[in-house]
């Protein structure tokens, strides 16, 4: 069956450093969504990408969908303590990635 893997599984950064998580699918995706889950919380929608090569920005967050629509990335510039949480990608609204847990050290 389809699998969506994310790397890295964990990432610890100093506040102000950049952070990137990568999402890779075993098959071509029609769309990909990104969610953030704070510790003890539930996933919250961040963005959706549907076009090959699409790039979207939200303040310090940059999201990219690969040309082949099999991978995606989320990049955070100058992390803040409010960025702490686990970031998940969701492929085709069915397959959640394994998640990347971000810890920001003040």
């Amino acid at each position: 069956g389809q699998q969506v893997m994310q790397i890295p599984q964990y990432q610890h950064v100093q506040e102000g450093e950049d952070f990137t998580t990568y999402c890779n699918s075993s098959t071509t995706l029609s769309n990909i969504q990104w969610y953030k889950q704070r510790p003890g919380g539930h996933p919250v929608f961040l963005i959706q990408l549907v076009k090959s090569g699409e790039v979207k920005k939200q303040k310090r967050l940059t999201f990219q969908f690969g040309e082949a629509k099999k991978n995606s990335s989320l990049h955070i510039t100058a992390t803040q303590t409010t960025d702490v949480g686990t970031y998940f990608c969701l492929g085709n609204q069915f397959y959640f990635g394994t998640g990347t847990s971000l810890t920001v050290i003040p």
Binding site: F45, F88, F94
Partner: protein, 117 residues
């Protein structure tokens, strides 16, 4: 706008017992999802409803799990009998009509944390 409601928030049961979870989606959302999230993992889709019909239940362990959405609004998820490995957070989510083609964001409820002892 009220969010997705779930109850109970916490449940502790012994193995082989039964348990039921309830979800009330956002008003007007035709699509409802049940996920199982084991600690440290991503949510795993158990079942997806479009109104009161099942769209996908390929990952639902049907020998012990069942779900229904009789009137196309509220939904219940039941486990009978529970096993130790069912300990997880059960998340309910809803979104606008999936069949309209464009993917819509999912709104999640707070989840039910199940502990099976």
């Amino acid at each position: 706008e009220a969010g997705v409601a779930q109850s109970p928030r916490y449940k502790i049961i012994e193995k082989r017992q039964s348990v039921a979870f309830w979800c009330n989606p956002i008003s007007g959302h035709a699509t409802l999802y049940w996920y199982q999230q084991i600690l440290g993992q991503g949510p795993k889709l158990l079942i997806q409803f479009q109104n009161n019909g099942v769209v996908d239940d390929s990952q639902l362990p049907k020998d012990r799990f069942s779900a229904e959405r009789l009137k196309g609004v509220d939904s219940t998820l039941k486990i009978q009998p529970a096993k130790l490995e069912d300990s997880a957070v059960y998340l309910c989510a809803s979104s606008l009509d999936l069949q309209r083609g464009a993917p819509y964001e999912q709104y999640f409820g707070p989840g039910t944390r199940l502990t099976v002892t």
